[in-house]
């Protein structure tokens, strides 16, 4: 087990990268603490799989270093790094039995059969596949195959980090949550550092203690699921996490106050260092209230979607679309309504990045 440190990491798939755009990863500095459960979240093509392959050693970064417990492993091949990786599609050795599959990484490293047997038995028990040990792996269902892939990662006693590259892609929806909670349970039992790559926010938020959000080869924010939800550091995080994502509305900043369509919007707190000019207001749909006879920003309801537990109202205010999530009664399409933003959750973003700080005495 180890603490993993990425320092000044850059990677380009081109031999002679010229500009920032040529880099799949743009300067990453990141520390994964020993024993943590991390999720690496981002849209397809943001560089998360590249980052994962660099940590596992399948790719050598163009620039920068990878340190395992302060030891430089940048030049080491995957087999020497003592890591495990679970891929999107279950990788199993078809001709072997489940037992031999699980034993494979240990036998390749020349462990005694006694140790192999003990480890395989205990891992099989953890994964609840003991009754399948003597069946041929080729005949398993996809979710069991993926379990075996995970098992091969966990079977080594001294693994530094276990990485999951969108491991639930091919699993049936009703088995997804089962495997997900299994993973969480495994993490608590084996206490290895785990990194879980996904573009699915639910998977990331349920699995991880810390979520790393990436966009365009950059880390945008690192935080607990609650932090990411409540105080997105970038409008991208606001958009990407939540369903629907955060409302991002254009505004004018004049002397530290924000104006949306000419109306002043009260922010969570002071905006430090933001000069006059265009900026954006960020507010989660959960914190927008809609009323038909109150005060607030005038808007017209465009549509209402009933998604079970709550209703998503889409309204147009000052030519901008604003989502609101309501419990219970909701207006119907075409109604004239007023919107109110909860002040403590209303934030200001300048050039995409969070610019307001919480505090009293807001304007």
């Amino acid at each position: 087990m180890a603490q993993i440190k990425l320092s000044n990491l850059r990677h380009s798939y081109q031999p002679n990268p010229q500009s920032d755009a040529d880099y799949a990863l743009k300067k990453i500095d990141l520390t994964w603490e020993d024993g943590g459960a991390y999720a690496l979240l981002g849209p397809s093509g943001c560089g998360k799989s590249t980052l994962l392959n660099i940590i596992s050693g399948l790719l050598v970064p163009s620039e920068g270093k990878i340190l395992f417990n302060d030891q430089d492993v940048t030049a080491l091949p995957p087999a020497k790094r003592n890591i495990a990786q679970v891929f999107q599609f279950p990788v199993i050795y078809d001709t072997m039995t489940v037992y031999d599959n699980l034993a494979f990484p240990l036998r390749n490293r020349g462990r005694d059969e006694d140790i192999v047997k003990r480890r395989v038995t205990s891992i099989a028990e953890m994964l609840e596949v003991t009754d399948m040990l003597s069946t041929r792996a080729a005949n398993l269902s996809p979710d069991n195959k993926q379990k075996i892939s995970m098992g091969r990662g966990l079977v080594r006693e001294d693994v530094n980090v276990v990485m999951f590259d969108e491991p639930l892609t091919v699993i049936d929806p009703h088995l997804k949550w089962k495997l997900r909670s299994k993973l969480k349970e495994l993490h608590q039992r084996v206490k290895a550092t785990m990194i879980y790559v996904t573009h699915d926010q639910t998977e990331a938020l349920t699995f991880a203690d810390q979520v790393v959000v990436m966009q365009d080869g950059e880390v945008v924010q690192i935080g607990t699921p609650v932090e990411l939800f409540e105080r997105p550091a970038h409008t991208f995080v606001g958009h990407f996490i939540g369903s629907p994502g955060m409302n991002v509305l254009p505004c004018d900043v004049r002397d530290g106050a924000a104006f949306f369509g000419g109306e002043q919007i009260r922010l969570e707190g002071p905006v430090g260092g933001v000069g006059n000019g265009a900026a954006e207001i960020g507010i989660r749909p959960e914190f927008v209230s809609v009323s038909t006879n109150g005060s607030g920003i005038a808007a017209q309801v465009r549509k209402v979607a009933d998604i079970g537990r709550h209703k998503v109202v889409e309204a147009i205010a000052h030519d901008n679309r604003v989502h609101a999530i309501l419990e219970g009664e909701a207006p119907s399409a075409g109604d004239a309504v007023t919107l109110e933003f909860k002040q403590s959750q209303t934030r200001l973003y300048k050039d995409g990045w969070l610019a307001s700080t919480p505090g009293e005495g807001a304007q």
Binding site: P77, A79, A84
Partner: protein, 288 residues
């Protein structure tokens, strides 16, 4: 009640006719000849299973069958491993892929009799490139019109040259269909190159290799044109394979009865061996 519509049978008729005229009827003619004796003028005498008995007991047939089995065994044991090895060595991506594929496919595009003629000229001791080189430059006596060993070596090399590509292309298709994650996982699991071959590449190639071996078995077991053009079955009878012997009996000696019986036995052997082989190769798939 379900509607019974017998008219649907008409849809089967075209296929039935096609199969009848290209396989069943000609085959029945052979069956007809195999149980009768004829002296021409459409006069036939019932012969029973005499011709079959005669063929099965004849030393000539045993020898030809032995040569045939030896030939097929040799080319399979050379072409399959060689084909796999070449496929493994071929690049999986990059500008050289089309070059390799076309180069590999070229021998297969050449007609059988041309291949036979090419190798015949190639190996002539006085003017052929290989023949001259062996005899006059290296000083090794090499003349397949005189020496049965030389004739056999040439026939086998010719077939390897002509048909290894088929195994290569099939094995290559199997190899490139293996997702990269398998290699990455094996690398992380610390697998050796041999283990990667044994547990990933070979199992993934199994289906295409089954097809390759079946095709090569059937083609080589029924081979006629190439050895006929190259050696004509000689020197003596040393390279007279089953098909060459069959043509000699049927068209050379005009013994239609024994030839027909031999055809059916020949066909039965090919069919049985293919079935046996396929069953054995796929036996493991159904085991759990």
């Amino acid at each position: 009640m379900k509607t019974q519509n017998q008219r649907a049978w008409w849809f089967v008729t075209p296929v039935l006719l096609l199969v009848a005229f290209n396989a069943l009827i000609p085959m029945m003619t052979v069956v007809n000849y195999s149980v009768q004796e004829t002296f021409g003028d459409n006069l036939f005498f019932w012969q029973g299973l005499d011709w079959f008995e005669q063929v099965l007991k004849s030393e000539r047939f045993h020898n030809a069958l032995g040569r045939q089995l030896f030939f097929t065994f040799m080319i399979l044991i050379i072409e399959v491993p060689l084909g796999i090895a070449i496929a493994l060595a071929m690049p999986k991506k990059g500008p050289w892929v089309p070059f390799c594929l076309v180069t590999m496919a070229l021998p297969m595009l050449i007609p059988w009799n041309v291949v036979g003629a090419m190798w015949n000229i190639f190996t002539l001791p006085d003017i052929g490139l290989l023949g001259y080189f062996m005899n006059h430059t290296l000083g090794i006596s090499y003349d397949m019109t005189q020496d049965p060993v030389a004739a056999w070596v040439t026939i086998i090399i010719m077939d390897v040259w002509h048909w290894t590509s088929l195994v290569v292309l099939l094995a290559y298709a199997g190899l490139v269909s293996i997702p990269n994650a398998y290699y990455q996982a094996a690398e992380i699991d610390g697998a050796s190159n041999w283990a990667i071959f044994r547990f990933i590449q070979l199992p993934k190639m199994k289906t295409v290799l089954t097809i390759a071996v079946l095709l090569r078995f059937m083609d080589s077991f029924n081979i006629y044109t190439e050895p006929f053009v190259l050696t004509g079955g000689g020197p003596g009878n040393s390279t007279t394979l089953l098909s060459i012997d069959l043509v000699k009996i049927a068209l050379g000696q005009f013994d239609l009865g024994p030839a027909a019986a031999m055809s059916l036995i020949y066909f039965a052997i090919t069919l049985f061996a293919s079935w046996l082989f396929y069953t054995l190769m796929t036996l493991n798939d159904n085991k759990s």
